[in-house]
């Protein structure tokens, strides 16, 4: 119960729901969820973080034959315009800071799709190489994984449909049905000096609010 108070979603405090003790059976909230989920899921604008081979299938998915537009997905090159980052291709150690920076530039709420084996785990470049990051989920919270080397455009579109279901299942009420893994540290920060909000949350809320006013 107490853990409901500290959420990671910016929309909670903005809508004034952060003080709600329970999200169960709240008629107003379910209607808001349905509306927000529907509108967000209808047009997921994509940020094509295409680095390697998968970018070709990403382009193919956007064009005439496969037509991403019918799913409401519209690739935009500016991270600030977009809702979902599609990481398509190998991420190297040199590219990693760029991806993190672009992810941080995206506006909330935001989602990440790991497209292709390289983005999932390093794929063919898992062994014997010194420069490849073994999976984009080591530094970004990934929502949907799409396997394949490269995945077909249909797979990518199926991934978008999966993501749409996740987006619609999301609630402004904190952590009720689908909660994203946002606890992965975005920067390689030093060990936290202040108690970071953690999942177990039985001892933390007692100490955190008492420290902040002081």
């Amino acid at each position: 119960m107490a853990s409901l108070g500290k959420t990671d979603s910016a929309s909670d405090s903005a809508l004034g729901y952060s003080t709600l003790e329970s999200g169960v059976g709240n008629v107003i909230l379910t209607s808001a969820d349905a509306l927000l989920g529907w509108s967000r899921g209808q047009s997921l604008w994509a940020f094509p973080m295409g680095t390697a081979c998968c970018a070709m299938e990403l382009i193919a998915a956007s064009f005439s034959k496969f037509d991403f537009d019918r799913l409401g997905v519209f690739p935009r090159q500016g991270p600030r315009h977009t809702d979902v980052m599609i990481v398509a291709g190998t991420i190297t150690e040199k590219m990693k800071p760029v991806v993190i920076r672009l992810y941080e530039q995206m506006a909330e709420p935001k989602w990440v799709i790991a497209m292709g084996n390289c983005a999932i785990s390093g794929g063919i470049f898992y062994y014997d190489t010194y420069s490849v990051v073994r999976g984009v989920d080591q530094f970004l919270p990934v929502d949907v994984y799409i396997a394949g080397c490269p995945p077909r455009p249909e797979s990518l579109q199926d991934g978008i449909v999966q993501l749409r279901n996740l987006v619609r299942a999301e609630s402004v009420s904190p952590g009720v049905r689908y909660r994203r893994r946002t606890e992965i540290p975005l920067r390689t920060a030093p060990a936290p000096t202040t108690p970071a909000p953690a999942e177990p949350a039985s001892a933390a809320p007692a100490s955190a609010p008492s420290k902040d006013p002081a």
Partner: protein, 369 residues
């Protein structure tokens, strides 16, 4: 006093995630107003260590790695690598396999050039061209899918032949497609190169003279656009190319327009080559018998080169007699061509940078390896 501050050059970073850098290219620009004074290319954002990985793979296991080099045209790296291995290990290739290799590589050339011509259009503000070009590319990719089951990473060419024989009716399907293709290509020609705006954006931009193209080591359409008739298919005619008639397309002015148009006109030649190759293709085996799983070439080295869609693609392998290569090196045309950006971009305005870079047709998988 304020004048001095005013005259300072502004350093602007473009990329590595930028729509006009065609992947993960990154360019540091020194700008004087809108004029580029200096352009420094920073590569390595897609460096995956493929050459080092190859040293820990058997000769056959390297083939899938070569797919990921030039991912717009995977067949070329397959073929160049296999030719080097065949040279090192003295493996013969059946005639039917050579014809199949020529057919798939010329189809790949069309597919790759469609990507490049389309992005030339997108760079110069004609996005419709990209959509039309990608439609043509998609038709070729579907034929590849029928042949080997993959849309992008084929691993089709293997040491000693090819992986699969053409399925029933595939050759007819290719021929039928090749009869339809010139109509689409002509439409694309009118759409992009007949467009006043695209001509204005492409003509006279990034001019490279014939002497410069030779001195700076340009190959492929980048060199041919400048009037250098350099084509490995003609100069060092490999495989069955000596039996096939085709013309080498050469440009006059060496600007972005000529480079892009060269690519488009080469597609017509590729159609000619494919039609001849399918007519000449004999029946027979597609893979030489008795090639061991662990190919162990004798001690020594081998270099083989082919004409890829981007230029001269060379592969150098060194063998120490074992089952794994001691060293594999790729002479990547995209790397040599894209390095010219620092010579071509200065004194152009910033908005021409994307056009010049697009006309060099870099694929950063191959640049960074």
């Amino acid at each position: 006093m304020p004048d001095q501050e005013f005259n300072q050059e502004l350093v602007v970073n473009v990329g590595p995630q930028h729509p006009s850098t065609h992947g993960v290219g990154r360019i540091l620009l020194n700008l004087d107003g809108d004029i580029v004074r200096k352009a420094e290319l920073i590569i390595g954002h897609l460096h995956r260590g493929i050459e080092k990985m190859a040293e820990n793979r058997t000769y056959l296991q390297v083939v899938p790695l070569t797919d990921r080099l030039d991912y717009v045209g995977s067949m070329y790296a397959n073929w160049a690598y296999c030719r080097a291995v065949e040279k090192a290990a003295a493996i013969d290739v059946p005639e039917r396999a050579e014809y199949l290799r020529v057919i798939v590589c010329e189809m790949q050339r069309i597919a790759s050039h469609m990507m490049s011509v389309g992005s030339s259009g997108a760079d110069s503000g004609a996005f419709t061209v990209f959509v039309y070009a990608f439609d043509l590319r998609e038709r070729i990719v579907e034929l590849f899918e029928q042949l080997c089951g993959a849309r992008l990473t084929y691993s089709y060419v293997r040491p000693g032949g090819v992986a699969f024989d053409a399925p029933d009716g595939w050759a007819d399907a290719v021929l039928a497609e090749m009869r339809k293709l010139p109509t689409g290509l002509e439409e694309l020609d009118k759409l992009l190169f007949g467009n006043v705006i695209a001509r204005g954006r492409l003509k006279g931009v990034g001019i490279m003279s014939t002497e410069q193209a030779i001195a700076w080591g340009a190959t492929g359409p980048v060199a041919r656009g400048s009037g250098v008739a350099l084509d490995i298919r003609r100069q060092d005619a490999y495989s069955v190319y000596p039996r096939i008639g085709f013309d080498v397309v050469v440009g006059d002015n060496g600007d972005a327009y000529d480079r892009a148009r060269c690519r488009l006109l080469e597609c017509f030649e590729s159609v000619r080559i494919i039609e001849q190759a399918i007519t000449q293709m004999p029946e027979g085996p597609i893979l030489t018998d008795g090639i061991p799983r662990l190919i162990a070439p004798p001690k020594g080295d081998a270099y083989a080169r082919i004409e890829s869609a981007r230029g001269t693609l060379g592969v150098y392998t060194v063998s120490d007699g074992g089952a794994k290569p001691y060293r594999v090196h790729f002479r990547s045309p995209a790397f040599c061509n894209v390095s010219l950006i620092s010579r071509l971009a200065p004194s152009h305005v910033l908005s021409d940078l994307g056009v010049i870079l697009g006309s060099l047709d870099p694929v950063f998988g191959e640049v960074d390896r």
